[in-house]
Symmetry: C2
Subunit: 307 residues, 2 copies
């Protein structure tokens, strides 16, 4: 706990330094709110028969908070949080039912510039907690869908393969593409695209693979990368064309954070420009969240391997 308290205070210190002020929301939300963003929430009834749920993340409650309480304030809003979230998972699969999250939400700042600010804070946060080796994967949510659309894939195929891509199930995707009978060239291009990762040169490589809609998605990814680079935040960034976040609300850039000492991601984020609309407010938004227990584990692993 002493180590965790130290870690928490480092995280909040960085958020504060960049002007992100901490907010708090209740652990218990109306189920209807939580379910606008996520599945697998723990649900139960209150004394009046209202269906409640434990929050599954902080992005949804903060979207609700901003939509209902911030209408008098001028955006952008720079908010941060440090809180536990809960998911109804099966503990045997090494997933936690309860986990700490620390992160920021930048609400009302659009496009590449907003994303670049979020990535800069993320990089500084990783510095502050001593994870020198951690990498930030940068993807673009529309890449897969646009390339599929360019190649004549339909909604059903998109839906089926999006979940597979989020779980990095390349074999499953290949099998779905073969069944959909897009032809060997297109199948090969699609499978090749999602395995491209590295420096900004992979964007150039990808240009040869897809069609027009896919090209526009790559343009967005390229301008995001440039904005990050201009802020000096590209060192840790690895462009990852196959990056697909599991939560359905991501709309543009997507982020995942890795550390070489751990086999699981230690954080994630991205843009969710459409999310606030689900709560009746129209703001572009981006943010990241770090998983506290995994950051702590990575700190310990890093300390041991460095000793």
């Amino acid at each position: 706990m002493a180590e965790l308290r130290q870690l928490q205070s480092s995280l909040l210190g960085v958020f504060e330094r960049f002007g992100f002020r901490e907010v708090r929301t209740p652990t218990i939300e109306y189920a209807e709110v939580v379910e606008r963003g996520a599945e697998n929430a723990y649900r139960f009834f209150d004394d009046r028969g209202e269906l409640l749920a434990l929050r599954t993340d902080m992005t949804i409650p903060i979207a609700r908070l901003v939509a209902t309480r911030f209408s008098d304030l001028e955006p952008p809003y720079r908010l941060s949080y440090l809180a536990n979230a809960y998911r109804a998972v099966t503990p045997q699969r090494a997933e936690l039912r309860e986990f700490g999250q620390a992160g920021i939400e930048l609400i009302g700042a659009e496009g590449a510039e907003g994303t670049a600010e979020v990535v800069e804070v993320l990089g500084q946060t990783l510095d502050a907690v001593g994870l020198k080796q951690a990498r930030i994967g940068l993807g673009e949510a529309g890449l897969w869908g646009s390339m599929l659309a360019d190649f004549g894939g339909d909604e059903t195929l998109l839906e089926e393969t999006t979940g597979l891509l989020a779980r990095h199930d390349i074999v499953g995707i290949e099998s779905a593409l073969v069944t959909a009978d897009l032809g060997p060239d297109k199948t090969e291009s699609l499978l090749g695209m999602i395995q491209l990762r590295g420096g900004p040169e992979v964007i150039t490589t990808a240009r040869g693979l897809g069609g027009e809609r896919f090209g526009r998605c790559l343009d967005r990814l390229e301008s995001t990368y440039s904005a990050i680079s201009a802020r000096g935040g590209a060192d840790r960034v690895q462009v990852d064309l196959g990056l697909m976040r599991e939560l359905g609300y991501y709309s543009g850039s997507t982020l995942e954070v890795y550390d070489p000492s751990l086999g699981e991601i230690i954080g994630g984020g991205g843009r969710y420009d459409g999310l606030m609309r689900r709560f009746g407010a129209d703001h572009a938004a981006a943010g990241f969240t770090l998983y506290i227990e995994r950051i702590h584990k990575a700190q310990i692993e890093g300390g041991l391997s460095g000793a």
Copy 2:
């Protein structure tokens, strides 16, 4: 949140200074565990059909933790916590469904000395958070029951009146005593006893009111007060013979914390020597918990009235 973070850090600082190390337990427990100590928990099922519950306090989870994990360590254990707890209450009645608690558990230290250490830390904690006017009510759980027993009251009457006493419903108690027909003198003595509060002289006053069992309870209260006094912690202490904590697990001294700026208690605690046995370990134990949001409110009120 900045104020709350500052408050949290002051609280943990005092606990640490007195050798109480912070522990953490899951928000979600098996319902069967939570219900060994409290009612009105939020309950729900997990994916395997197990009945789960949100913790209603930290004392129960820490009792479980110590009973199942600490058998290799020598008591006493000095543990602290800073965590949210949850109760299925009706928010209209100004009760919070979710509230922060900070407190300590001193497990394996018996009797007056153990209680006095807890009261000392409590007093220092109130100093550290700037609540100079806060008072600690000191009661003894058995006073009411022993006096009733001395006067020939039965179990049914005890059960009925204990709840009323916890809610300070003197009119309700009077009515129950009249119905039970103990006679006007005994009724008057019982009602007089529970309204005695002040310095240690109220213990002397009470000696004339009850019988032998009641006298032994007063002896325990007196020796607790002496131990507190010997440690220099009696300044804030107000002896309160009518103090009855709502939770059923208190066995000896009981504590409540008040601040003149607020109409509700800001903390509570006491001894619960029998609680650990419900989890299969036999340790004397005492502790206190402070309600974070109320402490924060008292700080604000105090600041305003002092300005």
